[in-house]
């Protein structure tokens, strides 16, 4: 340090000496005292400047330390498309996110010969979502639904994410069965999910481990109460629990087929219904009209059909994203042991669907809705993304169900649904949906087939 100062001083003095050498040589010896004085003054000034530089450097270092320390404790409040509204600690380990979505529908029945079904406006879904992260690994999520004028708790679970390959979730959530069911309601291309969703539960309570590896492989394995088809269950009717699992692979890296994903999911468990809670469900068409239900008998409860025995589901499924074209396919087989009075049977229902969507505006058609390339902006003259969608699916009820377990005069043996849709994604948050569904049935009427349905949904969706 002192050496540096002496070095700087000597440079200054040398420079000064060279610059003034002729004059110095011309001076008389009487000027010697003045020169010594000048030298001392220069050295003092260099020392002072040296101190100032050191102080400035230290102040700068302290300011950097201070800013870094402040950043560690500074919370951030953000509002963006990805996280909704959020509060987050500086280290990101604690966060609170408020998200949600609402879907306001206009539903119109072009032909409703089966029953007088009123056209109506409907608040289909209204779901605030609260997500909290506590510490490095743990978080929880709560999502109620106030749609249809009712209150239901759909998601309420705790999750520990210890590694991308290993997380643990406990509470109420979607079990890993039913491919389209696993797709968020904000991402589906039609007003309602397709016919195969009838054969899988909506929500169940249980414990699940899950993980993924490099985006190539993912898995979920869990133990659940064992909710019946379409149900969002909050309890169980017996001691037995269901095991559910799913694997999904995206085997091709690069090339045209890199968006190909193949999956297999299944569940199994033993169920026990009773006359008041049968543990069985009816099935619905796209318009949410029930076209199949098991027999019930309020007068002689023993004649009500109940689940009794093993229920198993198996569902191969696939997704292919080819640029702006996306294709989803799923098949599900649902095998259920049932009893009515002294009669038992194992009924096997199957359903499948294939649906495709295409973005006219060039966005990638993935499993989740894309962000429009050019979001709606009047000043910029951009209007968002346009998606065309079509699907076909069938649900086939086991013939063994008739006539003992279901009444063919009111329950159909098969439904076939054709859907067409056009969706306008104004931006990441807002979507306007128009879909048309034509559904035909085998049986289900006193004479012949239940009348076909022609059903139009318009929807305004806001998700944040």
């Amino acid at each position: 340090m002192r050496a540096v100062r002496q070095w700087v001083t000597s440079i200054v003095l040398t420079t000064a000496s060279v610059g003034v050498a002729p004059q110095v040589l011309a001076q008389s010896s009487a000027a010697t005292d003045n020169s010594i004085s000048d030298t001392s003054s220069l050295e003092a000034r260099v020392d002072a400047l040296d101190q100032q530089i050191r102080v400035l450097e230290r102040l700068r270092a302290l300011a950097v330390d201070s800013a870094a320390a402040a950043a560690k404790t500074r919370q951030s409040a953000t509002a963006n498309a990805k996280d909704g509204f959020s509060l987050k600690s500086a280290d990101g380990q604690y966060s609170l996110k408020l998200r949600g979505y609402a879907q306001a529908d206009g539903r119109f029945f072009a032909s409703d010969a089966v029953a007088a079904i009123p056209d109506n406006f409907l608040l289909r879904r209204a779901r605030p979502i609260l997500e909290v992260t506590v510490g490095q690994y743990f978080g929880f999520r709560i999502m109620p639904d106030f749609g249809n004028g009712q209150t239901a708790l759909l998601d309420a679970y705790w999750e520990g994410k210890f590694d991308p390959a290993f997380s643990v979730r406990a509470g109420k959530f979607k079990p890993p069965i039913g491919f389209e069911r696993l797709q968020s309601a904000t991402d589906i291309s039609f007003g309602e999910r397709g016919l195969p969703t009838n054969l899988a539960p909506s929500r169940d309570i249980g414990l699940q481990i899950a993980g993924e590896a490099s985006g190539v492989f993912e898995y979920q394995v869990g133990i659940f109460n064992g909710a019946t088809d379409l149900a969002s269950a909050d309890g169980d009717l017996n001691d037995s629990k269901d095991l559910a699992a799913r694997v999904f692979v995206q085997p091709i890296r690069g090339g045209a087929l890199q968006g190909l994903g193949l999956g297999l999911s299944g569940s199994t468990g033993v169920e026990q219904g009773n006359a008041t809670a049968t543990d069985l469900s009816g099935y619905r068409s796209a318009s949410q009209q029930t076209f199949f239900r098991y027999r019930t008998d309020a007068v002689a409860p023993e004649n009500t059909v109940i689940a009794e025995g093993r229920r198993s589901r198996l569902s191969p499924h696939a997704y292919l994203g080819l640029g702006s074209f996306g294709l989803l396919g799923e098949y599900i087989v649902n095998r259920q042991e049932v009893r009515r009075a002294g009669s038992v049977a194992t009924l096997t229902h199957t359903a499948w669907q294939a649906s495709g969507s295409f973005f006219l505006t060039g966005e990638y058609a993935g499993f989740r809705s894309p962000t429009p390339r050019k979001p709606f902006d009047l000043t910029a003259g951009t209007f968002g993304a346009i998606e065309l969608a079509a699907r076909y699916g069938e649900l086939d009820i086991d013939d063994e169900a008739f006539p003992l377990f279901a009444n063919s005069a009111s329950a159909s043996t098969k439904a076939r649904g054709l859907g067409l849709g056009v969706n306008w994604h104004l931006n990441k948050q807002i979507k306007v949906l128009l879909s048309y569904e034509h559904t035909t049935f085998d049986g289900g009427a006193a004479t012949g087939d239940r009348a076909s349905e022609d059903f139009v949904v318009t929807r305004f969706q806001h998700a944040f």
Binding site: M1, R2, Q51, R54, V55, E57, R58, L59, L62, D65, N238, D239, S240, K241, G269, V270, Q272
Partner: protein
């Protein structure tokens, strides 16, 4: 569970019971053998690193010999006020060894982690060693600094840490104030004016005492360092003779750094016996010797006599005597809006 056959369920239950019994028996056997190793965290102030490194080494040997138990002691150092706030905010300290009693009072009051009567639990107000504040200058004392009054002269650059974060800095501040009070006509107003002039000569406020020592000794900033006596003596030892000199002011302050077990943390972690023994060890002859060797003034008379020559003779005032205790001193001088905030304006 209807899904699992009864015989299999019974086997599972029997297996579980057997495993639990074996585990309990193994744990019990282990417990009856060697005591389980224990970890201690000592949260301390800035200049005590060397003291506790040496003390920990000796205590670990002592405790192992006495109880057979292995102890691992971790140290955390920083400005005393900042360290105290970290403990209140959740730093799991088993013991705190801080620069001023007020910082431990805060842990007791705001954190509710220490019993309110903590200061009476150990001898000498729970201060096993003392120190004071001296002036450290460069060799030859180029600015001719002899006492506090010289620190306010134009051109004298004074290095001291920030009283908001450093306990040592608060001792520095109070020592200067106490000196000013003892000058002819001295009162709170003249003392405040004097300290204000002193801080006008402070170009940099580090967060802790060790940071200020580094600023003065290694970065070469400033003409005089207001330093803990132990820190000044250590700096001279580390730098070698001939580079720094201690100037003993005419008056300084008796600094009594206190220690305490953090009761709630120690109880929760099961470390209370070893934590208490660790602090009591500071009062033993071995502990006092280590303190003295690290330039802290020992309490034990025999050790104090042995090391008497290494400490300059000073007139020392106390916080209680001049300022009415740490609570009053804190409120009058270091609380938000108090005298330090009034006199110190960064960058001016």
């Amino acid at each position: 569970m209807r899904g699992i056959p009864t015989t299999m369920r019974n086997r599972l239950l029997a297996s579980g019971a057997l495993i639990a019994t074996l585990a309990a028996a193994t744990a019990d056997a282990a417990a009856q053998g060697a005591p389980k190793p224990v970890n201690l965290l000592n949260v301390s102030y800035d200049p005590t690193r060397e003291l506790y490194e040496e003390l920990n080494h000796e205590f670990i040997r002592y405790w192992k010999g006495k109880t057979g138990q292995d102890v691992r002691i971790r140290q955390s150092h920083g400005g005393s006020g900042k360290q105290g706030r970290s403990v209140i905010d959740g730093l799991q300290a088993d013991v705190v060894t801080l620069a001023v009693a007020y910082d431990i009072d805060q842990i007791a009051e705001k954190g509710r982690l220490i019993a309110a009567d903590w200061q009476g639990r150990l001898a000498d107000n729970s201060s096993p060693y003392t120190s004071t504040i001296v002036l450290l200058v460069r060799k030859g004392n180029p600015k001719g600094i002899k006492d506090w009054g010289d620190l306010v002269k134009p051109g004298v650059s004074v290095i001291t840490p920030n009283p908001k974060t450093s306990g040592g800095a608060r001792w520095n501040y109070l020592a200067a104030w106490a000196w000013a009070l003892r000058q002819p006509g001295g009162n709170d107003a003249t003392a405040k004016a004097f300290v204000a002039r002193l801080y006008k000569n402070v170009p940099v406020l580090d967060a802790g005492a060790r940071g200020s020592t580094t600023t003065f000794v290694e970065r070469g900033i400033g003409d005089v360092l207001l330093a803990w006596e132990n820190e000044a003596l250590l700096a001279i030892k580390e730098m070698g003779p001939g580079k720094l000199e201690i100037v003993a002011p005419s008056v300084s302050i008796l600094a009594e750094p206190p220690v305490s077990v953090v009761d709630r943390v120690a109880r929760k972690r099961g470390t209370q016996p070893v934590a208490e023994a660790y602090l009591r060890y500071l009062y033993t002859e071995v502990g006092q010797e280590i303190a003295a060797k690290n330039f802290y003034r020992p309490r034990l008379a025999s050790v104090a006599a042995k090391y008497e020559s290494q400490f300059p003779k000073l007139t020392l005032v106390t916080v209680d005597g001049v300022f009415g205790g740490w609570r009053k001193a804190q409120a009058a001088h270091f609380a938000d809006g108090a005298s330090f905030d009034q006199i110190y304006q960064p960058g001016r």
